[in-house]
Amino acid sequence: MHHKSIRQHADSLRQGEYSSVELTRSFLQRIKQYDGQLNSFITVSEEQALASAKAADERLAAGDASLLTGIPFAHKDIFCTDGVRTSCGSRMLDNFIAPYNAAVVDRLAEAGIVNLGKTNMDEFAMGSSSETSFYGAVRNPWNTDCVPGGSSGGSAAAVAAGLAVAASGTDTGGSIRQPAALCGISGLKPTYGRVSRWGMIAFASSLDQGGPMARSAEDVAILLQAMAGFDARDSTSAQRDVDDYVSPLQDSLQGLKIGLPKEYFSAGLDAQLQASIMQAIDEYKRLGAEIVEISLPNTALAVPTYYVVAPAECSSNLARFDGVRYGHRCEDPADLEDLYKRSRAEGFGDEVKRRIMIGTYALSAGYYDAYYLKAQQIRHLISDDFRKAFEQVDVIMGPTTPTTTFGLGEKTNDPVTMYLSDVYTIAVNLAGLPAMSIPVAPVDGKPVGLQLIGNYFNEARLLNIAHGFQQVTDWHQQMPAQFN
């Protein structure tokens, strides 16, 4: 049952082949059987899942069900869930049970989805390997000595191993697309503001965006349909209608103009990985697409710019964790300053502290113009590169990552090397564009992701382009043998 798509499950549930309670039990059983090897879940909420599944079966029986009703799903542990712990992968929130649901959680619950639990992640979504979690590293189902990517590595590993049909993720610099690529699944970061950030614990507010992670583009489209939409409670939520993401999936790709940025195929890109990407591009040519070489000249500036903007916003957002109102508080504080400083020092891990300190420095008196202002100006230049490219092409394609998955511990001692693994994904967040990663031919048994970058609010076209490829290939249906 764990191979099936959302639509196949929806059909089976309607034909009475199995109930949502039976389906949910089978996934809970798989989590018990396999997650010891992966550590993809922080919390499994069995009781709540079975209660939702029972309610879903009643909706199905009453003929009042959506495509998502009764589908076993998992939320990244950054989305607040009323009654189930929301840790954000941090000791700081180890004891935190949110008093409300995130907008994304409510929207999917209204559609009848069954939440199996909360997935593991880099602490406060800061990382590219899911190794900075307070709850231990997540492992890649394709090779358990390797990382699943991050920060949404628990969601990616759970979907890839068939422990959930699909999962939610968040993407500030690549945190949906990079783990999707390293685990061989499909993931979409929507346009900034398309999915509500309300109840999603903030990392860098001008970059953060939630989105779906699943096996296929079709599953992603069905999920985005339920997740997207204006939310008055998020002050940067986009006030525009949601497109139909499902019907245009079948549209022809004849005449599609694909831009290949020369900067994405230069030094630093693994040769075998490049060959796999070009093989996918050839598939698109057979589907009627035209290839245009383009340039995004400011590509190399994206990582440096991001490591000012994201830490600056994180240092401001994470100031709220002070040990006073909720979260971790140190023992026997001598005075209020001691309470703040020790609670934060004990509650946050090393990577979070590094980023808070970089951000604090960049925003401190005398340095604002040299760092934050300069970064915001370069951000404009990076965004203009994309604007010009989309005058020529419909979609931009390239590798999601410069290499396939790497070994656990391989990059943890060198933050800068770790940061550079997001070289192709970060510019998209700075510009606020939508982008996907879909699996293409693996290299040495390790998954490879093709990144598709679209124009603002063009998610429907992106999903159509991804779906077209998945109609003529089966990389998205592959499962790691160990978990099959």
Binding site: P99, H328, K353, T360, Q377, I378, H380
Partner: protein, 95 residues
């Protein structure tokens, strides 16, 4: 702009993080490495370029100044590490 240990200690104070000497030394190397990466920005001439604060160049939307939340005092207080008589407790701040 190279950092010194005293800078690291000052930043940690501004960020309200307690660090010991050994941690300050480690952070000195790590933060310097990150600032080295960030320094690539200096090569770019950004004269006259508007800073971009919002990806879609939108203005902040304002809502009407009316009550929108229900009273959840007990639920929120239950999250506090220490509370009494409906108030959150912290170490004494007024002598």
């Amino acid at each position: 702009m190279s950092l010194k240990t005293s800078d690291v200690e000052k930043i940690a104070h501004l960020a309200q993080l307690s660090i010991n000497d050994e941690e300050a030394e480690g952070l000195l190397g790590e933060l310097s490495g990150i600032l080295g990466l960030v320094a690539q920005m200096e090569q770019v001439d950004t004269t006259g370029v508007e800073p971009m604060a919002h990806p879609l160049h939108m203005n902040q939307r304002l809502r009407d100044d009316v009550v929108s939340e229900t009273d959840q005092r007990d639920k929120l207080l239950a999250l506090a590490p220490s509370s009494e008589a409906g108030l959150i407790l912290v170490p004494q701040v007024i002598e």
